[in-house]
Amino acid sequence: MKRRDFFKTSLAAAGALSVGSTLQAAHQPLTGQLISKLNFPEKRPMITYSDRPPLLESPRHVFARSITNNDEFFVRWHMPEIPTYIDIEKFRIKVSGLVETEFEISLHDLKTQYEQVEVTAALQCGGNSRSAFSPTTGGIQWGSGAMGCAKWKGVRLRDLLHRAGLKKGAKWIGFNGLETASYYKTPNFIRELQLEELDDHVIVAYEMNGEDLPYLNGYPLRLVIPGTYSDSWVKMLSEIRVTREYEKLFFMDIAYRVPDNDCECETPEKKYPRTKPITKMNVKSVIGYPETGALVQNGSHIVVRGVAFDDGTGITSVKVSVDGGKTWNDATLDDGSAGRYAFRGFRHSFKPQTLGKLTIMAKAINRAGKEQPLDKDVKWNHGGYKYNGIDEITVEVI
């Protein structure tokens, strides 16, 4: 039995995970996990790895569409205490540190005193598809649904910093949200970015797909950094602090890092000594329809649908194979009007002609010529980050 066949029937939410093979490589990530019967606030029932902190994965079928609904959008928090009530009249975001004028601003003023901008951008956890790695790495064993794409609306971070006025020597910005730990001494989930990494696409967003952000996606305000993994998109953003020096932080220095070498890889026996933050997303695609285990009618039209994205370099083509990788066809891409940071929808129709198992694969290629490797060629790293193997699902033709 192939590992993915095993996983098809496994219950991730119930904690049934198989023993990984000892080969140092990757394979297809978990798919078809159990969807919880319980719904979380403002969410439909999702794949539920934890309730405290809440960790919810979108089921695969969501990726047949290039915008992810708010109530199906994945959720990942780091701390057990997240505010379950926010008084929007009293909520303020503070800009402080190495600036001419520190200030606090209400959501209302943010919406009325600054230019409102929109960006459609994919959001993906650095550990998305982690279950693909073998040997099993530390961390939640996500399938491919720790990602989503939404139209975000807010104001430019630049404009806020401009109002505060940066002082000479300002180099770093720390972002702090409202989630808190059980113990006072636990480090907060603060992120730091270098000022020079910021461009006009970085926004402080209060709206997602035309609605307020759901609580579990960071209501009332979150950072949106298109092209970058979601660990930097601080939720329930409450403080922006400008500094001269980089401050030592657990979530910057220890977590969310990959080996600092060309392949960003290592072996369990010989971990690479230097690491770097995960930052920019690599090229990836996920098939939303059909799903592994589906029965399809022989001779009927099947429209394979999925999404492809990268760090904003831009997807130029998606190849689909319906014979397990022997031959590849150009999929039809959507018009790309949602912009270079958005999920690029793709589709490919075909008629299955042979009874039995049929494997469908998708491979995205971007403007820089980067393409997804086969799953077995994805190199291992200890945190299980940045998996982007060619996606594969297997249906049964009847």
């Binding site: 991730a12 939410a13 119930a14 904690g15 995970l17 198989s18 023993v19 990984g20 919880s36 319980l38 719904n39 979380f40 606030p41 403002e42 539920t48 790895y49 934890s50 309730d51 405290r52 902190p53 809440p54 960790l55 708010n70 701390m79 057990p80 997240i82 379950t84 009530y85 929007i88 209302h108 919406k111 009325t112 279950s131 099993t136 530390g138 961390g139 939640i140 064993q141 730990a181 059980s182 113990y183 001494k185 636990t186 480090p187 709206e207 035309g210 609605e211 307020d212 759901p214 609580y215 209501y219 657990f250 220890i254």
Partner: protein, 103 residues
């Protein structure tokens, strides 16, 4: 200006998914954790910060891995777990969620 303000307020009321003034309730999920020696220490220490889902969804791991995780909780997350409990928890995790390998 007054009119503008009114429109803005109406808009926010329309967009809101949770009614202003109401809080949300995150459900509790009973994750099926295995019983055995050391479970009391796991319950007393680990559950303060995270659900059992965090344990059972890590995949089967080596003794070194579990030791590293527990030590990380103490070192980096400042969990006040004493030395005796630390060892008890590592042994429990490896016995029930281990892959049989020390390293």
């Amino acid at each position: 200006m007054k009119k503008l303000l009114l429109i803005a307020l109406m808009a926010s009321a329309l967009f809101a998914q949770v009614k202003q003034g109401e809080d949300i309730a995150v459900p509790y999920i009973p994750y099926p954790i295995k019983m055995g020696k050391g479970f009391n220490a796991v319950q007393a220490n680990c559950l303060t910060c995270h659900s059992f889902g965090y344990i059972i969804n890590q995949g089967p791991q080596s003794k070194d891995f579990w030791a590293g995780k527990v030590i990380k909780m103490v070192m980096h997350f400042k969990a006040p777990i004493d030395k005796k409990d630390t060892q008890t928890i590592i042994d429990y995790l490896f016995k029930h969620y281990g892959n049989g390998k020390l390293k």
